[in-house]
Symmetry: C2
Subunit: 352 residues, 2 copies
């Protein structure tokens, strides 16, 4: 994975840096938050792996040679949208750390403390809401300013607005499904994976690259499906890593989905397939507030002997097969098909 | 005021309704929140006075005859942006009521209660963040889809992104200035009024209408300044109404700025001009958690005898004079100049 995207990382990084250099100058005259926020957004955006932007450029190059400046601009805008969504997500999930750094809203909570605010946590949340909003507006500014033919520009803007509306609706559904009275079957869960992560992380960059390269509807539709499948596999694998991973690999505690009572596909398969003698243990552990290492071991055992893990692997395998057929049908050079296959393999084999 | 904008109200209302009819159909297939949110956003948007959208069409018609469909689309997009900003503002201000209805995040808090959520207030906040985000993306979708010449469309999109970034930065400043250790002078306060409300409520619609009518930079710059002055007068008057208004006219309690320790221009003038014998009363009342009718009467008296109210009126008068000169210099029909003068008068004479 790294080897495919490595080549794009530094050019996207440079484009993001130039953008924030310019915005820093423009907005530092507005008020103190202009410069303050541009610094924070710049650092936050560059901390990411820039996978979405890289995939977007890869997709463009599958159809057209070269790296015009405007494709780099679009890639930067996508990374900025991603950062802004994360800033809002971190408020909703009350996450105070991301990639070893304080999240944006939590950074501003610290500022509230220094100012003697009587409710600095809420001040942080409010600043975080504004920060994410500003990030969205800046991303649309980049898109609006592109020197691209009007029709492609319009298509890309319309695609992004549609997809970002989906992300918001899926986020609402995700929160809703975690409430006690909500019910979620396999279809609901896969649908959530598709809308909340898969389409915007994989389909959106792939489709945008192809739109920028003026490809036809049939190609764009294939990339849409390929992207969805990439993302669903990624997300199902995420469930597995949450239980079977190691803290040293993932950099976060094991079993957080269990603690937060998340309705993952693995959890669904577990509850469907668990044998009588294990049912009580499973229920007890899922109702606990904290997890001991022995609880993790026990659930791993149940996932194995119930067949839940095997069913999860079968699901991944089925989606992989369908995706391989789609990739074969694309009219692109063999090396790009290989790149797409490598993304599937990476998503399946990753341990963090 | 009403008479100028009355004619635009129903056509904007119809355009907003058609937009949400279409979106309801499109998004109800995504998940349950597609239809749920489109209904709420529709109702919330239509509750407003649609002043921004009306001003935008008025501005267009000052230069060009007719009401093309796309100008109605732009006006609707502006109302939708406004609603989305309010949705986020209400979370930050913890406002549970707006125009007699529950605010959007508070509506969703109720949904959390019904679902047995252990933290329904936070669920409401999270749904509110998503709702505002989705509103922004929908507004950009409308703008992206306009059948307008590419250059005008680009100019409008760039203008909006810039102005909305300013609104966000000003909102951060507003929150910051309410913290105990922050200091704010006259310039800071006027600057806040200019960036947070004036530019986006008045300059943005006036400038957008003129851009849509392909006017030159000099005209657009005049409208920008006129809009800023409209808004600053509106906001200064707001300070006065908060103290001298009546609850039956405004529909909200008198003295909320005092209770919330807001750094308004009136508060600044009061603290600068208060005479020795009144200084202690002023400080005591500003440090109280609740306000008695006698406190309001006392502060009204101080505002009068200290000269703070007179200084506020003088400030409004100065800005009014400058704005009248700017309006006279515009190359538009006399009746439109009269309309603009009426907006100033309305902003000065209003009691609610």
């Amino acid at each position: 994975m790294n080897t495919i995207f490595q080549q794009y990382h530094s050019i996207i990084k440079n484009t993001i840096e130039s953008f924030f250099d310019r915005k820093f100058k423009e907005l530092s005259v507005v008020n103190q938050w202009g410069s303050d926020l541009m610094n924070r957004l710049r650092e936050f955006s560059l901390q990411g792996k820039l996978i979405r932007g890289s995939l977007l450029i890869l997709s463009y190059q599958m159809f057209k040679k070269g790296t015009p400046d405007w494709i780099l601009q679009i890639a930067s805008a996508l990374e900025l949208v991603h950062s802004s969504l994360l800033i809002h997500d971190d408020i909703m999930d009350r996450d105070t750390l991301r990639r070893g750094q304080k999240t944006i809203f939590y950074q501003y909570k610290g500022l509230g403390d220094m100012q003697g605010s009587s409710d600095s946590y809420h001040l942080g949340e409010s600043f975080g809401i504004c920060s994410g909003d500003i990030g969205f507006f800046l991303a649309y500014e980049i898109l609006s300013d592109l020197n691209l033919d009007p029709q492609s520009k319009k298509n890309i803007l319309l695609l992004w607005s549609r997809e970002l509306v989906y992300v918001g609706l899926a986020q609402m559904q995700d929160i809703y499904l975690s409430t006690p009275k909500a019910l979620a079957g396999e279809e609901d869960i896969i649908e959530l994976y598709r809308l909340k992560t898969a389409r915007y992380t994989y389909s959106l960059p792939l489709m945008t690259g192809a739109l920028a390269a003026s490809q036809n509807q049939s190609t764009i539709h294939k990339l849409e499906k390929i992207g969805e499948n990439f993302g669903i596999i990624f997300q199902i694998k995420d469930d597995e890593i949450d239980l079977f991973g190691t803290e040293s690999n993932t950099g976060k505690p094991i079993g957080t989905d269990i603690k937060e009572n998340k309705r993952t596909l693995l959890f669904l398969y577990l509850s469907e397939l668990v044998k009588n003698e294990d049912r009580d243990s499973l229920r007890t552990i899922y109702n606990q507030r904290s997890l001991a290492p022995s609880d993790i071991t026990l659930i791993r055992g149940i996932a194995n002997r119930s067949g839940a893990l095997e069913k999860l692997h079968q699901k991944i395998h089925d989606i992989k097969r369908k995706t391989e057929i789609l990739i074969s049908s694309l009219d692109i050079e063999e090396r790009y098909k290989n790149n797409l296959h490598q993304i599937i393999l990476y998503n399946i084999e990753r341990t963090s």
